[in-house]
Structures are given as structure tokens and as C-alpha cells.
């Protein structure tokens, strides 16, 4: 089990929970936390025991408030380099890991923290939480994929509003415009999230991984290419143990037991 300073890394019944654990600073990103998150997703990709990942913040106040602005105060650092070296690789890892990733948005998700939540496959959100593309409030532009995710989930009209005003997007609105999958009261958030996570951890992981690949492709390609691609991945899925088990269980009229292989 990897040893992290800024994260908790816990595996229960195939569900890995990664907790961003800097509650004193709204779980803001430091260089160390970004490195550890990259390492955690690398490890999760390698570990066959992990079949679903829940990403959350510690405490009740924040999922993650984005870059820790105090960290580099006064220093002349390049944001371009910071994105290229730590944020972008993290977003790519979340999008390409062939396991479902759920963001449990337990509190505010702002700036790059919001982008990271949007990069996950599903989002379960506390009714008390909000999202915020806060970048414009300090004269910056959204990053870590927000320009790509927002218009695809919520449409360009809303995406522009969220990015250009930097206003809070309350949980109800997030649900209504399609930014999150479901809401839960703060005291029920963990139960609702884990129920979903457990179901996904028991799903045929290879098929989930393949559909994730196809959805990634779908958002940047045409129907013709996607139809071709589906033929390939369906063939690959049909050769997995889980497909055989699924068929067998169907014929035997019982619930399938998928092993993720």
C-alpha cells in the first residue's frame, strides 16, 4: 500500500477511496498533493483488486478548492509548466484509467478542483455543496480540461456563463443542467456514493473500461469512426471471462458474478 502524506488511500471490497486530506486548506492542491494524486491513480490502474475509485475531500466543507494560492506566493512560477507537469497528467489519468471513477463532491469544488471532479466518470454531490469555475475571479481562465468538459456536459451557453462569471453553481442547478448524476443530503452522501461504487466494483470491469475508451473517443469523433470502433471493442468484450459468466448466469437464471477479467 503506497504511503501518502496528503491523501488517504483505502480499499474496501474492490472500491478504492482516495481522500484529498488537507481539510485545513479546503483540500487545496499543493505540489505534493498533485504528485501523490498522480501516483495514486497510477497505482490504482496497476492494482487488479481495485475495480472502482471514489475521489473525495476530507471533512464536510470542501471537495477541493483548486490550487493552493498561498503555496507559490511571491515566487515566479510558470502556470504553463504546472499544468503540463502535474494537472494535465492527472486529468489524462482519470480519463484513461479503465476503471470507473466517481467524484463524491462533499463540499465546494472550485477551480482545478472543479475540473478534476468533472474529469471523473460520475459525480454524486451533497445538496449543500457547490461548483465554481473560480478562475476568472483572479483574472485567469479555466484549466485542467474545464473548457472541454463544461460545454459537453452542460452546453456552451451555460459553460460560458460559469467560466466568465465565476459564480457559485448550487447543487440543484448542477443536477438540473447535467453536471452531476445525483444529489444526496450531507448525512446520506457517503451511503449513496458507496452504494453506487459497490455496484460498479461488482460490474464487468473490462467492459466498463472499454466503454470508457469509446466514450472518450465519442466526444471527439464522428459516428462512422465510432461505429467502427464499437465493432472492435465489442469483439474484445465478447472474449472476456465476464461475458461468458454473464451469458451463463442469464441462461441459468441467476445473478452473474463478475470478476473483472
Amino acid at each position: 500500500m503506497p504511503d501518502f502524506q496528503t491523501l488517504l488511500y483505502q480499499i474496501t471490497n474492490g472500491v478504492l477511496t482516495i481522500t484529498m486530506n488537507r481539510p485545513e486548506s479546503y483540500n487545496a492542491f499543493t505540489e505534493q498533493m498533485k504528485k501523490e494524486l498522480n501516483d495514486a491513480f497510477k497505482e490504482a490502474a496497476r492494482d487488479a483488486v481495485v475495480r472502482c475509485i471514489v475521489l473525495r475531500g476530507a471533512g464536510l466543507k470542501a471537495f477541493c478548492s483548486g490550487q493552493d494560492l498561498k503555496e507559490h506566493q511571491g515566487s515566479k512560477r510558470s502556470l504553463k509548466e504546472s499544468l503540463e507537469k502535474s494537472y494535465n497528467p492527472l486529468i489524462r489519468k482519470i480519463r484513461t484509467i479503465e476503471k470507473p471513477v466517481i467524484a463524491m463532491i462533499n463540499g465546494v469544488a472550485a477551480g482545478a478542483g472543479c475540473s478534476v471532479a468533472l474529469a471523473c466518470d460520475m459525480r454524486v454531490m451533497s445538496t449543500e455543496a457547490y461548483l465554481m469555475q473560480a478562475f476568472v475571479n483572479i483574472g485567469l481562465v479555466p484549466d485542467s480540461g474545464a473548457h472541454w468538459f463544461l460545454p459537453r456536459y452542460a452546453g456552451l451557453t451555460r459553460a460560458f456563463e460559469y467560466a466568465a462569471t465565476g459564480r457559485k453553481i448550487p447543487a440543484e442547478e448542477c443536477l438540473q443542467v447535467g453536471l452531476v448524476n445525483r444529489l444526496a443530503k450531507p448525512e446520506e452522501l457517503e451511503t449513496v456514493t458507496m452504494e453506487l461504487a459497490n455496484a460498479l466494483a461488482a460490474a464487468p470491469t473490462r467492459a466498463i473500461g472499454l466503454m470508457k475508451r469509446a466514450f472518450n473517443k465519442s466526444l471527439s469523433s464522428d459516428l462512422d469512426s465510432l461505429l467502427d470502433y464499437e465493432a472492435y471493442i465489442q469483439q474484445i468484450a465478447s472474449e472476456t471471462d465476464d461475458h461468458k459468466e454473464g451469458l451463463k448466469a442469464f441462461l441459468e437464471k441467476r445473478k452473474p458474478v463478475f470478476r473483472g477479467t
Binding site: L210, R213, Y229, Y232, I233, Q235, I236
Partner: protein, 257 residues
């Protein structure tokens, strides 16, 4: 024929040649290349084989030439050894060569891949000519074949920066034919090989020869070469059969002569 660093198998009219030094990402040492050239030459003369697939493994097609073998060599030694001259024999193989690439195709690996006639790649494949980073430059055709494949500016970028490009980028630039999921690249290459193996072999040979001619001749001489190969095929039984079958709306039966 038993080889140390490659595995050769035959099926359904085609041969599969697998580079097999997995512990060093299929680094191409002199012995491996000797074996490869020998195997390809033998397969070229094997009447059961109509197409050849060259592949590595999921992690690497080949990550480059074996640097250990040349790190301490002098220019005179390199010149005397002239190891890349052996690679020229691959260019003389008359049967179609398909590279099935996953993972790294770097340096000599990329050059070997470009010596093939077609390339099927996994979506995890990465291509590059990183020689510049160890104080040299491509030496087995990289500057010539890459430039012909992707044009000057992109070839310069790859050769002068040593940067790697992704499978999608390589597809866009015309370096490879097709990108498929990693689980399927070898299957896809086999399907292509089977399809080519089902075509009239004499016509396949002469057509390959004519396409390759385009790389080292004028358009005038190339067109003349093409025409002569075309006319030559009218001396084959397969041409008669092919055209007859077309008229009779049935599948042709090729004799290979």
C-alpha cells in the same frame, strides 16, 4: 529453423515473425537482425507464404538498435561493421510485409517498421527517432523513409527533437495505415495478411515492386515501369482466370502463375 531472438510461425497462407527479446524491449542487436534477414529471405522463397507480418509484443515493437553494441565503437569500426547494410536486404523482399506495432517503435524500431509495406498499430503505439538524444542521428533509413512518409517538416521535428508521436498522430501524418484497440492489433494485421494472401500472388508481387519504384525514380520512368509490369501480368494464368471469373460473376481461383 530455430532462432534465438525471433519466432517464426506460418498459417493460412501468411507468416508471422515475432521479435523476441522482451526483456530489452526488443532492442535490435546484430544477431537479431541477422536472424530476421535470414528468416525473411527464407519466407520470401517459401511457396506457402504470400504475406509476412512482422511484430513485437504489446509493450514494444522495438525500442531501438542495441546501444550497448555500439557505444564504444570507433567510426572505422562502424564503417567496417556496416551493420545497417544488412537492413537493405529487407527492401528486396518481394512479398508484402505488414508491421503490427504496439508500444514503442523507436529509433531502429521505427526504421524497421518503415521498411515494411504497411503498418497496423495499437492505440498505445508510440513512434519516434530519439537518436539525437544520445548524440547521433537515425542510421537505418530514418531520415529518408520518414521524410518520404510524413514530409519534410514533420520528419525534421521528429529527427531534430527526438519527440515521440502517438498512434493517432502517426495516422494523421500518414506514417501508419490503421489504429485499433491494443487487444486487437495483431488480429487486425492477421486479417489484412489473410486478405492479401487470398489475392493473386504474381500480381501482388509486381504491384508492390511498382509502388516501391515510386520512391526512387522519376514519374516518367515510374509510369513506364508500372505499365510494363501491368502488361507482364497478361502472361499469367491468373489474369486470364481473374477476368474470366469477373465476366462469369464467380470467385476466381488463383494458381499463382
Amino acid at each position: 529453423m530455430a532462432y534465438q531472438f525471433i519466432i517464426v510461425t506460418k498459417q493460412d497462407g501468411y507468416a508471422l515473425v515475432q521479435l523476441n527479446r522482451p526483456d530489452v524491449l526488443n532492442a535490435l542487436n546484430i544477431k537479431l537482425m541477422e536472424e530476421l534477414v535470414e528468416a525473411l529471405t527464407a519466407l520470401d522463397n517459401d511457396p506457402d507464404v504470400r504475406c509476412i507480418i512482422l511484430t513485437g509484443n504489446e509493450r514494444a515493437f522495438a525500442a531501438g538498435a542495441d546501444i550497448k553494441e555500439m557505444a564504444d565503437a570507433s567510426a572505422i569500426e562502424m564503417l567496417t561493421r556496416d551493420q545497417f547494410a544488412r537492413w537493405d536486404r529487407i527492401r528486396k523482399i518481394k512479398k508484402p510485409l505488414i508491421a503490427a506495432v504496439s508500444g514503442f517503435a523507436l529509433g531502429g524500431g521505427c526504421e524497421l517498421m518503415m521498411s515494411c509495406d504497411m503498418v497496423i498499430a495499437s492505440e498505445t503505439a508510440q513512434f519516434g527517432q530519439p537518436e539525437i538524444n544520445i548524440g547521433v542521428m537515425p542510421g537505418a533509413g530514418g531520415t529518408q523513409r520518414l521524410t518520404r512518409a510524413v514530409g519534410k517538416v514533420k520528419a525534421m521535428e521528429m529527427v531534430l527533437t527526438g519527440r515521440m508521436i502517438s498512434a493517432d498522430e502517426a495516422l494523421r501524418w500518414g506514417l501508419i495505415n490503421k489504429v485499433v484497440p491494443v487487444e486487437y492489433y495483431l488480429e487486425e494485421a492477421k486479417a489484412w495478411a489473410k486478405e492479401i494472401a487470398s489475392k493473386p500472388p504474381v500480381a501482388i508481387k509486381l504491384a508492390k515492386e511498382a509502388v516501391l519504384k515510386a520512391f526512387d525514380t522519376t514519374i516518367e520512368a515510374g509510369l513506364e515501369f508500372e505499365r510494363k509490369n501491368f502488361y507482364l501480368l497478361f502472361a499469367s494464368e491468373d489474369q486470364k482466370e481473374g477476368m474470366k471469373a469477373f465476366a462469369e460473376k464467380r470467385k476466381p481461383e488463383w494458381k499463382g502463375k
